[in-house]
């Protein structure tokens, strides 16, 4: 794609080793410390800093504590609304998942490029979101089989299924059940990738039209810039919504496992 003054919108997703080289490998897998790993560490450190700011447990909450308590209450409400009183047990997992994805998405959007640091949105890689989705899916499976044993398979036969549909419905339910981890991981990954590609393409319009002269800069560059400001705001919204949707769908799947249908 690159060449001829074009901006390469996919370059931002390149995973590069920061230190270590291609031949640092264990059993054929490269273990060099990449920018993806670095930004995961940064997200974790930022998350820990955010949480320590708010978990001092003051009687009258300050600013930080009010923020953290707001997030906790949000996740807590989500689980009690979707799973019921049993849902309390899964608050730590869903909360970690929600906050990690939220921090990852927002860190990737920060305009740090101004200071020469290039933020890497690791949630725009299917390897990361796929692992998160598989983690959620296996927790659902473990909880389901732990609580209900083989009765968990009654998930595939909803109540009130007519007898003549019995050969068909379990098949459809099974497929829709097995597709869940893919749709969960794919949604987050594609939403982040699409947003970042769009931002880079618009940035390319602005730079190339500005370089082409005054008239194209005025008639293409300025509207593109205005659009880009709007899209950036939209991307902030999407970053929050995707983290919320991931947590929400995980809690819904947990509800299936805890309460069956």
């Amino acid at each position: 794609m690159a060449g001829g003054g074009k901006i390469d919108p996919m370059h931002q997703f390149l995973v590069e080793p920061l230190f270590g080289t291609q031949d640092w490998s264990i059993a054929g897998y490269n273990i060099a410390f990449t920018n993806s790993a670095a930004w995961m560490c940064i997200a974790t450190v930022a998350l820990i800093a955010f949480m320590t700011m708010g978990t001092r447990g003051a009687l009258v909450p300050g600013r930080g504590q009010a923020m953290v308590e707001g997030f906790v209450r949000f996740v807590d409400n989500m689980l009690s609304a979707n799973v019921g009183p049993e849902g309390k047990r899964y608050v730590p997992y869903i909360f970690s998942l929600f906050m990690f994805i939220l921090f990852a998405n927002i860190l990737g959007l920060l305009p740090l490029g101004l200071f020469g640091i290039h933020p890497f949105t690791f949630t725009s890689h299917f390897t990361i979101t796929g692992v998160l989705a598989i983690m959620s899916f296996s927790i659902v499976l473990i909880v389901g089989f732990w609580r209900h044993g083989f009765h968990f398979f009654s998930l595939f036969v909803p109540h009130g299924t007519p007898v003549w549909l019995l050969p068909l419905i379990p098949l459809i339910e099974f497929v829709s059940f097995m597709v869940r981890p893919f749709s969960l991981g794919l949604r987050l990954f594609v939403a982040m990738t699409a947003g970042h590609v769009l931002l880079k393409v618009l940035a390319g319009f602005i730079i190339n039209s500005g370089a082409a002269g005054i008239a194209p800069g005025l008639f293409v560059g300025v509207p593109s810039f205005v659009l880009m400001v709007g899209i950036s705001a939209l991307e902030l919204l999407v970053a929050g919504i995707q983290a919320y949707v991931f947590a929400l769908l995980t809690s819904l799947y947990l509800n299936d496992a805890v309460n069956l249908h």
Partner: protein, 75 residues
Amino acid sequence: MDPAAAKLIGAGLAAIGAGMAAIGVGNVFGSFLEGALRNPGAADGQQGRLFIGFAAAELLGLLSFVVAMILIFVA
């Protein structure tokens, strides 16, 4: 037809899917707002369902984006 041109045309056609998903997402929020204005008391309790519908409609649009990306960069 030239295969490279066919790939790009296919990727462009996949954008129709994104537009259709835009209709779907608009429909989800529009219908929610319509219902919420009729009965504001019940609106807050349905926000989870709103986002489930949004996620389902959005996923189908994102799939068309995946198809376009696969056509351009992978196929």
